[in-house]
Amino acid sequence: MTVTTIPKVPLPLLNKARLRRFFRWLKSPQVILSLIMLAVMFYMVIIPLYRMLITTITFSENDLRYAPGAVVGQFTLFHWLRMLTSKIAVIMTFQPLLHSLTISFGATTLAFVIGGTMAWMVVRTDMPGRKIINILAVVPYIMPSWTIAMAWKVLFNNGTAGGVPGVLMFLTGTAPPDWIAFGPLPIIISSALHYYTFYFLFVSAALMSIDSSLEEAAELAGASRGRILRKITFPLVIPALLSGFIMTFSKTMGTFGGPNVLGVPVSYYTMSTMLRSNTTVLAFGDAFVLAIILILFSMTTVTVNQKIVGTRKSYETIGGRGFMAQKTKLRESKYILTAITVTFQIIIAVLPLLLLIMSTLMLRSGSYSFDNLSLVHWIGESNVNINSGEPGVLLNPAIWKGAWNSIKLALYTAFFTALLGVILGYAIVKGRGTKLGKIVEQLAFVPYVIPGIAFGAVYISMFTKSVGPIPPLYGTFLLLVIVSVAKHIPYSSRSGVSAMLQVGRELEEAAAVAGANAWRRFWRIIFPLTSAGFVSGFLLTFITTMRELSLIILLVTPSTAVLASMTMRYIENGNEQQANAVIILLITIVLIGNFIISRFRGGSLKKGLGA
């Protein structure tokens, strides 16, 4: 091993040897797959982003209504000026932005307190019942993020914003104050109770991976407990905390369900709901300005975060290796703590469902007495006085179609996501250290920094017209699949990479020496060895897609509606009981899917979540 500087020999630009070398490079499977992936991601992510940007600086036909004298297709800063400096900028942009930030920070902090405390108790204390806490922690994640928001409304609605009184008002006769019933507080609480799972999983994995001998060494060296926590434990957990932070932050920034259920009725708009209301009136230029602002905010957060933690670590979770951790003794109080924790978990997992189910069993909404019990919202015939004349959920062909759409979408997405994951994992790992590999890896990360609703918005502008050979896709089911798969690319590439890294490179090399071509190597060696993680990845994608709303809300049409979007439509039409019934149906399907898929080898939701 000698260190030399490579002499620069001037070579003619094109000669036979160079050409041969170039074609060999081009023919290698890693390069082919990388190039295909680049093309796919370019088409699915970069072009839509570009088109969105263009839309914000071009006049369109829809703008003629409120921009007199506009020439369609002409360059303009109209939308940016309108959204940032005009009289309505405060209402259209700055207030929603402030609200979104309030909700994101609030929900993130609360989720951290809940998830972090719970993780610490489970990993680092001798508290009993850890297993059950672990299982219950994943449950809220299975439910759609706005489930708790809907249940909140059933419980606390005070009639301020129309609608019927909630259970509390029915029982006590007094209306809960507005700040409890609607607005930021309930949105924050309901989101935090959904997203605390991330913190719980990340922090407990990190705590488990800390070798407590580090702490013991510090203790032997005479450091106090507080100092150890500050100087040793905390720095080691920080990456996990930050992963939880950006995960929760960027999800809540782009979340639509909660703010739509608990904010919009009292005109408490966030970026996502404002974006939606702009698209419903076809003000795409304005909507996309909001989307771009949202993306910039999210990107800044993630970038700052990565600067702090070091690149990439923040979205790679720490693999728990399970050192024997020194556990804090809690003495008698430990049983009480377990009881409190489990009760809390059950309340946030089960109570919302019970409330929702209860509301669907009431004939007239707003009355919660026994004589009002009825199955009409489930199996009633069509009746003009109930649910705008739609039959009960289980007899409603539109809902069955939605359910089928949901399942189809989730299955397609899960399949293509898993497939892309294996391919991306191969391309990235084999391409480590090359420019191409790096580009693929970075491009695969892009959807991560685009909040759900903005990501959906990106696709509106993309597919209203045909692009090259591809026909306009707006309003098609295929578009929903594309957007769902694209949004999952960061996660699928991450799990693909970690699966690939498990497979020693010698295993593939041995096959290459034995004469197997790339195709055979991939299907006979790489694929079987990486597909162990396939099932849990599949399950995770299935569940997240089933209950995904923010991403697709801007793209669904009546014929492509899925259950998640139908709940929103029913709420907006004032048929809340029907909406609640659909949510229950949705959760039931997710649970059945979870049950079936986890029968397969290696299917574990917790594993899929990367903990």
Partner: protein
């Protein structure tokens, strides 16, 4: 003899690290060539270049008459078309396939009837004494057994050249000894050209027909084990080979051809050299006596280390320290005076500056 592998001016760089530096090497058909050298000297890289798993930066590689790599022509034949077999250090058995599948994987693409395949598997397993293990998964076998299967997997598809990268380094000492015997037998029986990589000089010396000793990406010496041991071409080789280590002494050659080592001289076969040299003599080429002998040089026994079959004696005189190897259990006592005589036939002199062997 014909040449099985011809390597011309091969260079492989990783960033600004030159792992293989302008290496030229001819490997004769039927030989057992060992690439020997300390860790990080580029052995694996050279082997991987031959295999085609790594693309060199410059040079040419022929396997048989076939040009498999050429930087100037831009040619690089994929590993599977080079007619080679490779045994990996960590075996690289496919964990999801049973032994039988592992062995037939390479055969499936060759047009072969199931009966032929069956026979190949049976024969190859028999050759490594692992008959009856067809239905095991790799994880159901010990390290030594996996090693044999890895070997059998290569044998099954009958490559023209066997390549092995430290195949024994993960085995314990006992198994390593057994496998050395088997590998040497295998080479004897099959007569297949073998390129073997190791950092263990005993493996190299015991099994090879020739040894290439590498340092920092450069081949220092290519010779038979006997030559490498007795006539190391450089001080590096002299120092690397041999256990206990060779004695290296700084001296000056005088007019009479004697090596002056300060307070005493050593007569050697006459060298036509003068000036500063490094004298190398192996511990077993120094005769030791507990009583004065003619021309014997007086030393003090600093430490005596009997090891059953032989003993090592560490001798001191002024600031010179020598290691002497004596057969059997030594009767020398520590701190006693001893008299040493150097075997003039076995003394090698090296140029102090270049470290190269001075030939007679």
């Amino acid at each position: 003899m014909s040449v099985a592998i011809r390597i011309n001016n091969l260079t492989k760089r990783f960033g600004n690290v030159t792992a293989v530096n302008n290496v030229s090497l001819n490997i004769e058909s039927g030989s057992f060539l060992t690439l020997l050298g300390p860790s990080g000297c580029g052995k694996t890289t050279l082997l991987r270049c031959i295999t085609g798993l790594e693309d060199p930066n410059e040079g040419e590689i022929f396997i048989g008459d076939k040009l498999v790599y050429s930087s100037s022509e831009g040619i690089s034949v994929p590993p599977g078309e080079r007619d080679l077999g490779l045994v990996f250090q960590n075996y690289a058995l496919w964990p999801h396939m049973k032994v039988y599948k592992n062995m037939t994987f390479a055969l499936e693409t060759k047009k072969m009837t199931p009966e032929e395949m069956d026979k190949r598997v049976k024969d190859s397993l028999a050759e490594v004494k692992m008959s009856g293990y067809e239905d095991r998964y790799p994880r159901e076998m010990s390290g030594g057994q996996q090693q044999r299967i890895a070997l059998a997997r290569m044998l099954a598809y009958r490559p023209g050249v066997f390549l092995m990268d430290e195949p024994l380094s993960n085995l314990d000492a006992r198994l390593r000894m057994d496998m050395r015997i088997e590998l040497k037998r295998l080479h004897h029986v099959t007569g297949a050209t073998t390129v073997y990589v190791t950092h263990d000089q005993v493996e190299a010396l015991t099994m090879s027909t020739s040894i290439a000793i590498m340092k920092e990406g450069v081949i220092q010496q290519l010779d038979t084990p006997d030559k490498v041991y007795h006539f190391p071409a450089t001080l590096f080789v002299a120092d690397f080979i041999g256990n206990p280590k060779v004695n290296l002494l700084n001296g000056t050659v005088d007019e009479a051809g004697k090596v002056n080592l300060g307070s005493f001289n050593v007569s050697t076969n006459t060298y036509n050299t003068k000036g500063k040299v490094v004298m190398a003599v192996r511990p077993e080429d120094i005769a030791i006596s507990a009583s004065p002998v003619p021309e014997g040089i007086e030393f003090t026994a600093y430490s005596v280390l009997p090891a059953g079959a032989d003993s090592s004696i560490i001798a001191h005189r002024d600031d010179i320290e020598l290691t002497i190897r004596e057969m059997g259990t030594s009767t020398i006592k520590m701190d006693e005076k001893i008299w040493l005589k150097f075997n003039p036939e076995a003394v090698n002199l090296y140029d102090e500056k270049s470290g190269n062997l001075i030939t007679q």
